[in-house]
């Protein structure tokens, strides 16, 4: 079904079409919108992690200057619950009752004439609690454990017996910290009602879902809700839910009959919009002496909040990452009194791949084998779960190109053997994948009388380049130059789109855009081929294509005419077509959908005396299928790598073990990678268009992050001889 043979494997690295707006400060993010008469909200958050609110003291706030209302569970209207999506149930709506399930839970919402007044008054709201002891420790036996919450546990062969009889075994435990998405753009919501019609500007990666959610919550038709988000100040997963603060803002606007705007504070970003959950992973690996895997047992336990879902099967991908006859993977989640975790760039894979790729490095060293060679020996070109070939997997090429560009063969295999002055030098590598994911998607394409095209979908561009690559794709399908094509997004009134998440949007939306454009061309072809005044008269609409702005019989551009001519002759102002995509099914294709692959090679330097750790070099070789725009795709890999460096070395959301309060909820205390932490990077794309879908893309938003943390940890071992199984790797662990 692939139609991409004639298309470039790596698309032109054109500049972003939204670049001019972004560099001039004219791209409007949700926090930048205002409407006349708007009031401002401020959140009051609980100061205990578990228990009950006995009494709310709102009088002082109500009497403060400019205050319009104070909403608590005592006066909040009852609202409905949002939908169950592919990510699980919607977050519970706010202010339902007197229960407190985590520190920082929203317990009141103050609305005032100015932001300063709202913030000042929110500080005056007090609550009396009947606090109970919070559950905060992942391994607390009292915590409820969800067993296989996603139905993703796997088992093939007999891993226990195979471990028992393996020539070599390795058992190790790995832990990863809570990380907070922390997109730079503070999340904002501006809600305005006109009668029973609600318009919301919201920081969302999924406006179609937010629309559904708000309709359900307020009991109004979906057609009465419009969610707008032309620009998102980053998301990394934080924008994948309709969060309680969004509902609160819309609720307040309805109550006071005025628009209300809320901008979260940075500390509130730690408790209100999700985070990557911490976890423990237990790996047991069995192998032959020459490095063939015979058994793999990968189990995880990760943290979850009391009343929410989060899709994080850490261990799942170990069931298909390598060829191995006996595999068990199991994922468990423990309910704790913590703020709700949610997907954060490369959810589950970031953590699971750290454990697996660290364990393989340990195995390689214990076998005195090159870690790259170990991976090559266990590579699989078929999906070990079902024996089907992958729809595209150029991982071997990733290894080969990466090793060459990095100079992997220069490495002295002995740990602590390479030095540059006082720096211990280490090389590490890891394999990476991010599984295929897609959801249904729709798009609409129009060609106007002036020959320009407008393509639309309710998708978002969270920095991934959606505006640009979809315009490029549409231009290609319609045979128009890029400057004649505009792609609009970020409006739930447009055709439904899936989330910007799971590295799925480019593929799913791309296929919908492809479909819409094909149908549109077909409409033009049908008009022209039946028209006595057209040079296409008599040709079959099946044999028509578009190049250089002309609709013409395949291979005969001289017999073409422009879209504008066809429209003019038929007295039409435009032609429009709708397109859809649904995720392909592996059994129908006879192929397993592959997702993206990569090989990461890292050089670190560790100060022999001070333990200072620097990432000196990173080479990422990525099989992302067909790349629509080399420039923006490269940026995705660079950005993922920076996120991976953060995860490996800095990011750690610290929760006070007694109170459940996040102790480092600011950008001054929660460390992320800054410019000086990030070296030059080499990014290369290899492979072929994916055979499973029409456009052949795979999605590269996440695979850039995967594998960086283990490659760093493995390089640290090579530099120092110290095996670090806990992230982040901090200086004290290296002293």
């Amino acid at each position: 079904m692939s139609t991409v043979e004639s298309r470039p494997r790596i698309g032109a690295g054109v500049n972003r079409v939204d670049g001019p707006r972004k560099v001039t400060g004219t791209a409007p993010y949700p926090m930048d919108f205002s409407v006349p008469g708007q009031a401002y909200g401020a959140l009051v958050q609980s100061t205990v992690a578990a228990g009950r609110i006995v009494r709310m003291h709102t009088e002082a706030a109500e009497g403060a200057p400019g205050v319009i209302t104070v909403i608590t569970h005592e006066n909040a209207p009852k609202v409905g619950t949002g939908p169950v999506t592919v990510l699980g149930a919607s977050p519970p709506p706010p202010l339902r009752d007197d229960r407190v399930v985590h520190h920082g839970q929203h317990i009141a919402f103050v609305v005032a004439e100015t932001p300063e007044q709202a913030t000042a008054a929110a500080r005056l709201v007090r609550a009396d609690y009947e606090a109970t002891e919070p559950l905060l420790d992942l391994q607390d036996p009292r915590a409820e454990q969800l067993v296989d919450p996603w139905g993703t546990d796997t088992s093939r062969g007999d891993s226990a017996a195979a471990l028992e009889s393996a020539e070599v075994t390795l058992r190790a435990t790995y832990t990863t910290a809570d990380n907070t998405n922390n997109p730079l753009g503070l999340f904002a919501t501006l809600a305005a009602w006109e009668g029973e019609t609600l318009t919301v500007h919201d920081t969302s990666q999924w406006p179609s879902m937010v629309r559904t959610c708000l309709a359900m919550v307020f009991g109004i038709p979906e057609s009465s809700v419009r969610v707008l988000v032309p620009y998102v100040g980053g998301g990394f997963g934080a924008g994948l839910r309709a969060w309680p603060h969004v509902i609160l803002t819309a609720m307040a606007a309805r109550m006071i009959k005025r628009p209300v705007k809320l901008v979260l504070t940075r500390p509130q970003m730690f408790t209100s919009v999700g985070h990557r959950p911490s976890g423990v992973q237990w790996l047991s690996v069995g192998a032959t002496r020459d490095g063939e895997l015979v058994a793999l047992d990968h189990r995880s336990l990760s943290s979850l909040s009391m009343e929410d879902n989060d899709y994080e099967p850490f261990a799942w991908a170990s069931s298909f990452a390598y060829r191995c006859p006996n595999v068990t993977t199991q994922d468990r989640q423990a309910r704790l009194n913590v703020a709700v975790p949610t997907s954060m760039r490369a959810p589950a894979e970031a953590q699971g791949n750290f454990a697996l790729e660290s364990a393989l490095d340990e195995l390689a060293h214990s076998l005195r084998m090159d870690p790259l060679e170990l991976r090559l020996r266990n590579h699989t070109d078929v999906d070990p779960r079902n024996g089907l070939p992958w729809s595209g997997k150029a991982l071997l090429e990733c290894y080969e190109v990466g090793a060459r560009r990095f100079g992997w063969s220069d490495r002295n295999p002995e740990p602590r053997s390479m030095r540059d002055g006082n720096w211990l030098v280490g090389y590490g590598m890891a394999s990476a994948l991010f599984p295929y994911f897609a959801q249904p998607c729709a798009a609409q394409a129009t060609v106007n009388r002036d020959g320009s095209a407008l393509v639309r979908s309710a998708a978002t561009d969270i920095g991934t380049g959606t505006y640009t690559v979809m315009a490029q794709l549409a231009a290609e399908e319609l045979g128009l130059s890029l400057d004649l094509v505009r792609f609009d997004l970020g409006d739930s009134d447009m055709p439904n789109a899936m989330m910007a998440g799971g590295s799925g949007l480019t593929g799913a939306l791309g296929n919908a855009v492809h479909d819409a454009c094909r149908r549109l061309v077909r409409s033009f072809a049908e008009l022209a081929c039946g028209d006595a005044d057209s040079p296409l008269l008599g040709f079959s609409p099946d044999d028509v294509e578009c190049t250089d702005g002309k609709v013409h019989p395949v291979g005969r551009p001289h017999l073409g005419e422009s879209y504008a001519d066809i429209l003019a002759r038929h007295g039409l102002s435009e032609l429009t077509a709708n397109g859809n995509s649904t995720p392909p099914v592996a059994t129908e294709l006879g192929m397993s959908l592959a997702g993206a692959y990569g090989a990461k090679f890292v050089e670190v330097r560790v100060d022999a005396d001070l333990g200072l750790l620097r990432v000196a070099r990173v080479v990422s070789v990525i099989d992302g299928g067909r790349i629509l725009n080399e420039k923006t795709a490269r940026s995705q890999i660079i950005g993922g790598t920076v996120g991976g460096i953060g995860m490996a070395l800095f990011e750690d959301t610290v929760t006070d073990p007694r109170t459940g309060r996040i102790a480092n909820g600011t950008f001054a205390d929660y460390l992320v990678a800054v410019n000086a932490d990030v070296p030059e990077m080499d990014v290369v794309f290899v492979g072929e268009p994916d055979r499973g879908t029409a456009t052949g893309t795979k999605g590269v938003g996440e695979v850039g992050l995967v594998g960086i943390a283990p490659a760093i940890a493995n390089a640290v071992y090579h530099a120092t001889g110290k095996r670090l199984r806990e992230l982040p790797i901090t200086l004290d662990a290296l002293l």
Partner: protein, 176 residues
């Protein structure tokens, strides 16, 4: 919901301190009557509608709100509007020339020095000041002096490349 309007009107609490502050932004003067607690960032964004300057933390830790005061970079979230009185304030809206984008803006576009674009106004304001300060002499220097501007999308290598190119072209630093 509690209706508190009547009590507020009765003036049970003292009104917050207000005064008129005159700000000169991108060459234009504005007289604003406002709460003295208002930061320069909020004055620009909420009072003047100059929303190109971004708020990423409001705590002086991210650089998204970087503007120039008399040509030097400052964090607008840590500056009270009243402190900026009588000084030349330049924001991202005042950086482009009449004949097109500033060379730093152009270089950011060419090198894809952003993704979501939220940090970009702050990055560009920092970069312009950095070059004027003669601190864009090497990649090391750029990385170091740009480290007050977080980019959560991780565009750093492209930001460095953009500044390197703009500095080279602009001839602000002979060492390049």
């Amino acid at each position: 919901m509690t209706d508190v309007a009547s009590r507020r009107d009765a003036g049970e609490r003292p009104a917050p301190p207000e005064r008129v502050v005159t700000l000169t932004v991108n060459g234009r003067s504005y007289a604003l009557r406002m709460d003295t607690r208002v930061t320069l960032l909020d004055a620009l964004r909420d009072r003047l509608g100059l929303v190109g300057t971004k708020k990423g933390c409001d705590q002086g830790a991210c650089g998204a709100c970087t503007v120039h005061l008399d040509g030097r970079r400052v964090l607008a979230c840590l500056t009270l509007a009243a402190q900026a009185e009588g000084r030349a304030i330049t924001t991202i809206e005042g950086i482009s020339g009449t004949d097109g984008p500033h060379p730093v803006q152009q270089a950011f576009m060419e090198h894809d020095g952003f993704q979501c674009g939220f940090c970009t106004p702050g990055q560009i304001m920092s970069a312009v000041a950095l070059m004027a300060e003669g601190r864009a002499g090497s990649d090391e220097e750029i990385r170091e002096f740009m480290s007050g501007n977080l980019c959560r999308c991780g565009a750093y290598p492209n930001i460095v490349a953009a500044i390197r190119e703009a500095a080279t072209r602009g001839g602000h630093d002979a060492r390049l």
